[in-house]
Amino acid sequence: MSVKYGILTLLSVKQCHGYELKIELDSLLGLKGKINPGQIYTTLDRLIRDGFVTSPGMDGEDRRLYDIHIKGKEELNKWLIEPVAYSNTKEDFFFKWSCARKTNSELEKLMLTQQKELIVKEVMELTKLKTELILEGDERRYLLVTGTLLHLEADLTWINQVENRVG
């Protein structure tokens, strides 16, 4: 899904050829890792079939260009303004915690301690990354990392609350 809307986003800015799309998508998806080119071309085929994307022809170097169709723009805008549901990404963690708590309180404590260590490490490394992004002036990635850190802060606060209740 992210590939589809990523392509529509990039084409809404300007016409691109396939390789350009790959480079820009990698940067747009950022932390999510690289996409394989095959996936981009199959998605493009589907977008053309559905009438979201057109191909106005070749560029000067004989590479196929792609452009967004008005229908594609509508599809993109509809998706963009749709709020994202909180699909509890930490479902695994909370389930594990519930199981640990049912099993015995020692395991629960240990489990929380381990999780806390992981959060602390993540906080330290992301904050380091954040300082680099500040100095590079990469505002978009800076704000993303800031968002992740705020989630980690909430998790840490929650664990501290549980631990204080466990006593």
């Binding site: 806390k116 906080v123 330290m124 100095l135 802060e153």
Partner: protein, 239 residues
């Protein structure tokens, strides 16, 4: 460079003598950004005050740039402090009836009047801390975050060797605190400003290169991200 050698500090509380620092050894290099963390009452502020020459150790030695603070007489130490050390506190400690500009100029001329030859560097500093347009505003009319910006500018006006910050974000919410930390980081990286910052907050401490974990008057451990298991250690320390 800061060198803290075998430093102890005792206070009298009523009839009782209490030892607040129990032998601290520490070296901080030029251009480092160091955070100090530790439980309340462990002696963090005391250590910062000693490094800043606001008070003297009971025993041991503190050197700033190879100059020993306790070997100076009172007057020399005051001059040295003004010239080489900058302080930022949790509660800003501005002079409320002076303007932004006058507060910042205060360490240069206590009368608050700004001489021509300093005007340019003060103007630059005001813009670096993001307070352009606020020069003539009285300090007590500013928000907390703005007051802390003034305090940072004031602390840096003499280009100190070391900036000492005691919980500079302690009174600020996360978003405003972030702005202040960004400012400190920028001075550290762009001007190689040495910073020692006391904080309770790992989200602030993470801005630093090294973190000193302080407990019960001694350094328990100095943490850097390169160390194996540092996160384990910090998580336990915080518990």
């Amino acid at each position: 460079m800061i060198r803290v050698h075998n430093v102890t500090k005792e206070y009298m509380q009523g009839q009782e003598k209490i030892q607040v620092l129990k032998g601290v050894n520490l070296q901080i290099n030029e251009g480092e950004f160091v955070a100090v963390m530790g439980p309340s009452g462990s002696g963090k502020s005391t250590l910062l005050q000693l490094i800043g020459g606001l008070d003297l150790p009971t025993s041991g030695d503190i050197q700033i740039n190879q100059q020993s603070l306790q070997e100076m007489n009172e007057k020399k130490r005051t001059i040295f402090r003004r010239r080489h050390l900058g302080f930022v506190f949790q509660n800003y400690q501005l002079l409320p009836t002076l303007t932004v500009e006058e507060n910042i100029a205060f360490p240069i001329h206590a009368d608050g009047k700004i001489r021509k030859r300093n005007q340019r560097s003060i103007t630059n500093l005001i813009s670096e801390v993001g307070l352009k347009g606020f020069e003539k505003k009285r300090a007590n009319l500013l928000s907390g975050g703005q007051q802390q910006r003034v305090a940072i500018a004031r602390a840096l006006v003499n280009h100190p060797s070391v900036l000492l910050a005691d919980e500079p974000t302690g009174n600020l919410d996360r978003t405003i605190a972030e702005d202040i930390l960004r400012l400190l980081l920028t001075f550290n990286r762009k001007h190689n400003q040495t910073i020692v910052m006391v904080t309770h907050d790992i989200f602030a401490a993470g801005f630093a290169d090294r973190i000193i974990l302080f407990r019960d008057g001694v350094i328990e451990k100095i943490i850097s991200r390169k160390d194996e298991d540092y996160a384990k250690y910090m998580a336990h320390f915080m518990a």
